[in-house]
C-alpha cells in the first residue's frame, strides 16, 4: 500500500482549517449562552460516549477525569486537550461541518487506552 503525500496533506489540511473555524472563530459563536455538556473520563471510557451537536451550534464542553490524566482528541473539530484529574477542562466548540466524528483519548492511560473513545454527531 503506497500513500501519496498530496492526498494526506490535503486531508489533514482541510481538517485543520475546519478545526480552526470550529474552535477559534468568535464570530461563529451563538449570541446566547452556549449549551453546556459535561463529559466524564475514566479508564477506559467517556461518559456519555455519544453526544449530538448541531452544525454551527456553539457548545461548551466541561470535561473532568475521575482517575488519571486523559486526553480528548478530535482532529476535524479542532479538539486536542488534556484532562487532568482534579480540575474541569472547558472547551468551546462550534462545529462547522455535519458528520460523525470519533473522539479518542490520546494521553496513554493504561492497557485499555486504545479502546477509549466516544462519538460526536454533528447534525445539519
Amino acid at each position: 500500500m503506497t500513500r501519496q503525500w498530496t492526498l494526506r496533506i490535503a486531508g489533514s489540511g482541510l481538517a485543520f482549517v475546519a478545526g480552526l473555524l470550529a474552535v477559534a472563530s468568535p464570530s461563529a459563536r451563538a449570541q446566547d449562552e452556549p449549551r453546556v455538556i459535561v463529559i466524564t473520563a475514566k479508564r477506559f471510557e467517556f461518559s456519555p460516549n455519544l453526544i449530538t451537536l448541531a452544525r454551527g451550534e456553539t457548545v461548551k464542553l466541561q470535561i473532568k477525569s475521575e482517575d488519571v490524566t486523559h486526553g480528548l482528541f478530535v482532529r476535524p473539530l479542532g479538539i486536542d486537550t488534556e484532562i487532568v484529574p482534579g480540575r474541569v477542562t472547558e472547551l468551546t466548540v462550534t462545529p462547522a461541518t455535519a458528520g460523525t466524528y470519533r473522539a479518542i483519548c490520546d494521553h496513554f492511560c493504561g492497557a485499555g487506552h486504545g479502546g477509549m473513545k466516544m462519538t460526536i454527531i454533528v447534525r445539519e
Binding site: 503525500w5 494526506r8 490520546d106
Partner: protein, 329 residues
C-alpha cells in the same frame, strides 16, 4: 536503476519482502571513479566512516506479556530466523512496544527483562531500541531507560546516520520541543546527502489520527529532516505494513510480532484481525529486503542510487511462510 553520480542520490535500500519486521540491505552504488571516491570520503568525514554495504533488520510490537495466542512465539521465531540467515544483519532495530504494559507491581519489569532475554539471543553486532507507548506511556520511559538506556539517541554505522526518536514517553503522541531541538543540533553536522534512517514508534505523519496513528508534531520533525535528501523513516505501532512518501522521505511500517490490525482504509473500527489458529503467524511477518538491484551492473559503472525501501510482490503475504521461499540474501 543506474543513475549518474550526483549528490542527490547515493544509497539504495532495496530488495525482496518476506514479510515480522524487515531486513534491509544498504548497498552504496559506488564505482571506482575519483568522483565516487570523493563522495564516499566526504560522507565518511561527516559520519566518521565511509559507506559500505551492510544490512540491518527492523522488528516491532512484540508486546511481551500481551494475553494473546501468539505469546512470545513470533518474537522467538523472528530471532531464530535472523540468526539463521546466511548473511546476518549488522544491526537490529526494535521500533517500540517491546512489552505490553501492566500495573501489577514488578510485572512490567519482568516483561521487559523477558523481552531483553529473548532478543538478547540475536547474534548480531548491536541491537537498538526505541519505546512504544506500552513500554513508556505510563511512567514517562523510566523503566525503559533503566533497562535499555536513553529513549532517543543517534549513531553512525558504515556511513549511514541512524536516529532513534521517542514519540511516546510524553504519553501524548508527540516528540516534543526539547527532543526536536536535540534533533536539529544532531542533524546540523551532516551534509544534505548523508543517508539518514530515523526509527521511531508512531508514524510521523497523519496515517489515521482517529486511530491514534499519528504524531502531533510529526510535521515539525519532518521539516527538520526536509533539507536532507536521503531519509528513510521506519516505524511500528500500526501492526501492519505501510509505505508513505513525503518530500524526500519514505516511511515504512513493520508488521507486528503479536497481532495485526486491518487496513484503515477498509474498516471503520480499529479492531485486531482475529487470530487464526491454523495460521498462527498470519499477518505477522519478517520483511526481507536484499540487494538484488545491485546485481548486473557494469563493474566500472558509477551506480548512485536512491535511499529507498523497495517492497516486492511478496510483501504483504503470509508472514513466516515466506521464509521457506528461496532466499537470495
Amino acid at each position: 536503476m543506474k543513475k549518474h553520480l550526483d549528490r542527490r542520490r547515493f544509497l539504495k535500500i532495496a530488495g525482496t519482502s518476506m514479510g515480522v519486521g524487515a531486513l534491509y540491505t544498504v548497498w552504496p552504488g559506488l564505482g571506482r571513479s575519483a568522483e565516487a571516491a570523493e563522495l564516499a570520503r566526504r560522507l565518511g568525514a561527516a559520519t566518521g566512516e565511509r559507506p559500505t554495504p551492510f544490512s540491518f533488520a527492523q522488528l516491532s510490537d512484540a508486546h511481551v506479556g500481551f494475553d494473546g495466542p501468539v505469546g512470545t512465539r513470533a518474537l522467538e521465531k523472528a530471532v531464530a530466523t535472523i540468526n539463521g540467515l546466511p548473511r546476518r544483519p549488522d544491526l537490529v532495530l526494535f521500533t517500540g512496544d517491546l512489552t505490553h504494559d501492566t500495573e501489577k507491581p514488578g510485572e512490567h519489569a519482568a516483561r521487559m527483562n523477558l523481552f531483553k532475554e529473548i532478543s538478547g539471543r540475536l547474534q548480531v553486532q548491536k541491537i537498538y531500541h526505541v519505546p512504544g507507548e506500552h513500554d513508556a506511556g505510563l511512567d514517562g520511559g523510566e523503566l525503559f531507560r533503566n533497562v535499555f538506556g536513553p529513549t532517543s539517541y543517534s549513531f553512525d554505522h558504515r556511513g549511514v546516520h541512524f536516529i532513534g526518536l521517542d514519540n511516546v514517553s510524553r504519553a501524548k503522541p508527540e516528540v516534543g520541543a526539547e527532543q526536536r531541538a536535540w534533533l536539529a543540533k544532531d542533524l546540523s553536522r551532516f551534509h544534505q546527502t548523508t543517508p539518514i534512517v530515523v526509527f521511531t514508534h508512531r508514524p510521523l505523519f497523519d496515517l489515521r489520527p482517529d486511530w491514534e496513528w499519528f504524531t502531533s508534531d510529526g510535521d515539525d520533525v519532518m521539516n527538520l529532516l526536509a533539507p536532507y535528501e536521503n531519509v528513510t523513516v521506519l516505524y511500528g505501532h500500526i501492526h501492519r505494513e505501510d509505505h508513505h512518501i513525503s518530500g524526500h522521505a519514505q516511511h515504512f511500517a513493520a508488521r507486528s510480532l503479536s497481532f495485526a490490525f486491518p487496513d484503515p482504509d477498509k474498516v471503520e473500527e480499529k479492531k485486531a484481525i482475529p487470530f487464526d489458529k491454523d495460521q498462527p503467524f498470519k499477518n505477522l511477518g519478517l520483511r526481507l529486503i536484499d540487494r538484488t538491484t545491485a546485481a548486473g551492473a557494469r563493474a566500472d559503472a558509477i551506480r548512485v542510487q536512491d535511499v529507498e525501501l523497495a517492497m516486492s510482490e511478496l510483501s504483504g503475504t503470509e508472514g513466516f511462510q515466506q521464509l521457506t521461499k528461496p532466499a537470495t540474501f
